[in-house]
C-alpha cells in the first residue's frame, strides 16, 4: 500500500470515529427510561453538548433535557440547576413552571434573619382534616445562597487552615484567607396545588439548607414543618405556624429515602450491595415508621426531591407559559435560621472585614497573646553563639 493510500485510510477511519462519537451523544438521552416534556435541543445540541459548553448563560437556564439535568449517584439522583424535581421522581426544566428566575450568577442575599429554635416537643402539629401533605424530601442542597451560617468549631477550623497554610511557606496566604465560605445552599419549593390547604413537610438528610417557599397564586399553606439539622427558611406570607424538628438524636430519626432501582448503588460495578442496601433499608424503615405515626401516610407517598436538589415542584406543572409561577427570591427577605454561633446576612466585604478582625483576635489569644509567636524567625548557629 502506498503512503498516500495509507493516510487516506486513516483519514476515513477518523471521520467514521467522529461520526460515531457524535451519534453516541445523540442516542444517550433516548436510552434514558424517564423522559418528560420537550427534548428540544435538536441535532446541534446533541452533537456538541450545548449544556456542557455554555457556562451560566441564558441557554443553560432554559435547559430542559432531563438527561442533562440529572445523573444517578450512589444514593439517588443528583440534579443540576435548572432542573426542577417534580412528582413521580421526574425532572423538568425550571422555566417550565417558573417565570422571572434571577439566575444563579449572584447568590441570593437575605436582608435580615430571625432565630427559629428547634421544637423541644419533637412532634409535628397534627394535620387538619382537608390538609394535603406537600411532601418534600432531599439529601442535600448545593446551590449557594448569600446566607452564611456557621459554628465556633467551623470558624476555628478556618483560622487553623489559615495558620497551617501561612506556616507552610510554600503556600501563599493572605489574611483574607482567614475567612471561610459557609454559604447555606438553597432549595426553591414551588407550590402549585391550590385544591387543598398545603401542610408542607420539608425534609433534608445532611448539610445546611435554606428552603425558599414560592407559592402560586391561590395556594394556601396551613402549616410548615422542617425536619433535618441546619434548616433555614424564607417563608411565604400567610397565617400559619413553622416548626423545626432536629434529627439524629432522641427527637426524630434521621431523614431517609427508600432505595430505588435508579440509584447508582444498584448499577455500579464492584459494589458489595449487601454492605449498603440493608442499612439504607433499615434507616428508611425507622424514618418511615416515625413519619406514618405523625402524618398518617408513608414517607414516600407523593414525595418530591432528589439526593441533590436545587428546585422542587409540589403540584401540577402549569399547562400554559402564562400560568407559570412568578419567582419569589430570597434577596432582601427576612429568613428564619436555626440557632448558630455565627449568622451573616451581610455582604461579603462587610462579613470579611468583621471576621478578619474577630479571627485575628482569636488567633492572637491562641498564640498566647502575641501574633509574632505564630511566625517565629529562624534560629542561626552564629546568632545563637
Amino acid at each position: 500500500m502506498n503512503p498516500t493510500k495509507l493516510f487516506l485510510t486513516f483519514a476515513v477511519l477518523l471521520g467514521v470515529m467522529f461520526f460515531l462519537s457524535s451519534m453516541k451523544e445523540k442516542v444517550a438521552p433516548g436510552a434514558e427510561t424517564v423522559t418528560t416534556a420537550a427534548e428540544g435541543n435538536g441535532l446541534l445540541g446533541g452533537l456538541f453538548g450545548t449544556a456542557k459548553l455554555t457556562t451560566v448563560g441564558a441557554q443553560e437556564e432554559t435547559e430542559t433535557d432531563p438527561a442533562r439535568l440529572r445523573r444517578a449517584e450512589f444514593y439517588g439522583w443528583k440534579a443540576k440547576h435548572p432542573g426542577l424535581a417534580v412528582q413521580d421522581d421526574l425532572i423538568v426544566g425550571l422555566s417550565e413552571a417558573v417565570s422571572g428566575y434571577p439566575g444563579i450568577r449572584v447568590p441570593q442575599l437575605p436582608a435580615n434573619h430571625r432565630i427559629l429554635k428547634s421544637d423541644p416537643t419533637c412532634s409535628p402539629a397534627k394535620p387538619q382534616p382537608g390538609d394535603r401533605i406537600a411532601n418534600v424530601s432531599i439529601g442535600q442542597a448545593d446551590l449557594d445562597s448569600g446566607l452564611q451560617v456557621f459554628t465556633v468549631s467551623e470558624m476555628a477550623k478556618d483560622t487553623r487552615r489559615w495558620l497551617e497554610g501561612t506556616l507552610r511557606k510554600s503556600l501563599w496566604t493572605d489574611e483574607s484567607d482567614l475567612v471561610g465560605d459557609h454559604a447555606v445552599p438553597m432549595v426553591d419549593v414551588i407550590l402549585t396545588d391550590a385544591s387543598a390547604p398545603q401542610y408542607v413537610v420539608l425534609q433534608h438528610h445532611r448539610g445546611r439548607v435554606l428552603w425558599n417557599i414560592v407559592p402560586a397564586k391561590g395556594v394556601t399553606i396551613s402549616h410548615v414543618v422542617m425536619i433535618g439539622n441546619g434548616a433555614s427558611i424564607n417563608p411565604a406570607p400567610g397565617n400559619y405556624d413553622i416548626q423545626h424538628l432536629a434529627t439524629g438524636g432522641d427527637c426524630v430519626p434521621r431523614v431517609a429515602r427508600e432505595p430505588r432501582p435508579t440509584w447508582d448503588m444498584y448499577s455500579r460495578v464492584g459494589v458489595r450491595l449487601e454492605e449498603y442496601e440493608p442499612r439504607a433499608r433499615a434507616e428508611f424503615a425507622a424514618y418511615d415508621a416515625w413519619f406514618r405515626r405523625n402524618f398518617g401516610q408513608g414517607a414516600e407517598t407523593g414525595v418530591v426531591g432528589f439526593d441533590t436538589t436545587q428546585h422542587v415542584l409540589v403540584g401540577p406543572i402549569p399547562s400554559r407559559p402564562e400560568e407559570r409561577v412568578a419567582y419569589r427570591p430570597v434577596t432582601g427577605a427576612t429568613v428564619l435560621v436555626q440557632e448558630a454561633d455565627y449568622v451573616f446576612t451581610a455582604s461579603e466585604p462587610e462579613r470579611s472585614a468583621f471576621l478578619i478582625e474577630h479571627q485575628t483576635e482569636i488567633a492572637r489569644n491562641a498564640a498566647g497573646g502575641d501574633l509574632a509567636m505564630l511566625f517565629p524567625e529562624p534560629l542561626y548557629r552564629e546568632a545563637a553563639k
Partner: protein, 326 residues
C-alpha cells in the same frame, strides 16, 4: 515518489489534526486535554506546548511530575538553602493542659485544636538550639499540623526545617544522578524506647547526632549524603503518665551516579555504633527500666538494649534499608 510522500504528509496534517481536535471536542475529552495545560505555571518550561500530539498520551502531569522531582532533588542537596523537603518531623499527642499557661482559662473545646496548633511554633523554637548544636546551622518552623482522632486526641505534627552543618559531598553529577534514600532506625526494630518526659530532649539530641554521624559515614563511602528526614514519634503511655514511648528513624539521601554504587552500600557495615550507644547511655541516665522492653525471641536479631532505652542497633543485616515512601 518523494513528491507523493510529501503530498500525503500534508494531506494527513490537514485532514487528521482538525479531526482529532473535533473528536476530542465532541466526546467531551477536550476538558481533560486542556485543563492540565491551563494549570501549569506560565513561566515554567513545562508549559511549552508538546511538540507532537503523541506526547499528550503520555500525560502532561507525568512531565510536570518529573520536573518537580528534579527541583526537589536539587533543593535537598543544596545545604545553604531552606527547603520543606528536608525536615525533622516531630509527632506528639497533646492536650490543652500541655499548652495553657499557669492559671490561663480553658478556651472551650471548639478552640482546643487551634490553641495547641498556635503554640506549636514556640515549641519548635525551644527545640531549635538542640538542632543547631551539631546537625544544623539554622533551624526554623517549616510546617505545623494538627489532627484530632475519633477519641478526641490531638496529634500535633511539627516539621522543623534546617540547614545541614555538613556539606552534601560531591554533587557535581546531580543532574543525571538518581536520589537514593536509606532509612536508619534510631530506636529498636520490634518495639520503641520508653523514656521519662524529662529525658525526651536529650533523647532527641542523640537522634540528631546519630543521623548526622551515619550520614557522614555514608558520604565517605558513596561520595554524598544529606539528612533528609528525621522522624520522631512521641506518645505518652496512657497507663503510666509522664512516661513516653518513642520511635524514630532517619532518612538519608545520596546521589547514585553509577549502577554499582548500590552494591557498595549493601556491603557496607556501619561502624562506631558502640560509641553512639555509650553517648546515649550517658545522655539518658536511666529514664526508664530495662524490664519495660519486651524481649526479642529471635536471638540473632536481638537488639542491644541500653539502660534507659536510648537507641539501638539492629544486629544482623545492613542498617540501610531502601524506603519506598516517606
Amino acid at each position: 515518489m518523494k513528491f507523493k510522500l510529501i503530498g500525503g504528509l500534508i494531506f494527513f496534517g490537514i485532514v487528521t489534526v482538525p479531526m482529532i481536535g473535533v473528536n476530542l471536542y465532541a466526546i467531551g475529552a477536550w476538558e481533560t486535554f486542556t485543563r492540565p495545560l491551563a494549570g501549569l505555571d506560565p513561566n515554567a518550561e513545562a508549559n511549552a506546548p508538546p511538540e507532537a500530539l503523541g506526547k499528550v498520551g503520555k500525560g502532561v502531569f507525568d512531565f510536570v511530575h518529573d520536573r518537580r522531582e528534579q527541583s526537589e532533588k536539587a533543593a535537598v542537596f543544596d545545604v545553604t538553602t531552606p527547603t520543606p523537603h528536608r525536615a525533622i518531623v516531630w509527632n506528639r499527642y497533646m492536650e490543652i493542659e500541655d499548652v495553657l499557661a499557669e492559671g490561663e482559662p480553658d478556651p472551650g473545646k471548639d478552640l482546643h485544636e487551634l490553641y495547641i496548633l498556635a503554640r506549636a511554633p514556640a515549641l519548635v523554637m525551644r527545640e531549635c538550639p538542640s538542632v543547631i548544636s551539631d546537625l544544623a546551622t539554622a533551624c526554623a518552623v517549616s510546617k505545623v499540623e494538627i489532627d484530632t482522632d475519633s477519641k478526641g486526641r490531638h496529634e500535633l505534627t511539627m516539621r522543623i526545617g534546617f540547614l545541614p552543618a555538613d556539606p552534601a559531598g560531591d554533587i557535581s553529577g546531580i543532574s543525571s544522578a538518581t536520589e537514593e534514600r536509606e532509612s536508619i532506625r534510631l530506636t529498636p526494630r520490634d518495639y520503641s524506647a520508653r523514656v521519662a518526659e524529662v529525658d525526651l530532649p536529650a533523647l532527641r539530641a542523640t537522634f540528631y547526632s546519630e543521623a548526622q554521624r551515619q550520614c557522614r559515614e555514608l558520604r565517605d563511602r558513596v561520595g554524598s549524603c544529606v539528612v533528609r528526614y528525621i522522624t520522631i514519634d512521641e506518645q505518652e503511655d496512657s497507663t503510666n503518665p509522664g512516661s513516653f514511648t518513642v520511635s524514630a528513624y532517619a532518612t538519608l539521601s545520596w546521589l547514585k551516579t553509577d549502577a554499582n554504587a548500590d552494591a557498595e552500600v549493601a556491603q557496607a557495615e556501619p561502624t562506631g555504633v558502640s560509641g553512639f550507644f555509650k553517648s546515649v547511655t550517658n545522655a539518658i541516665g536511666g529514664g526508664s527500666d530495662d524490664s519495660s522492653a519486651p524481649a526479642s525471641t529471635d536471638a540473632a536479631a536481638k537488639p542491644t538494649v541500653l539502660k534507659g532505652g536510648g537507641a539501638f542497633r539492629s544486629a544482623g543485616g545492613s542498617n540501610f534499608k531502601q524506603v519506598a515512601n516517606d
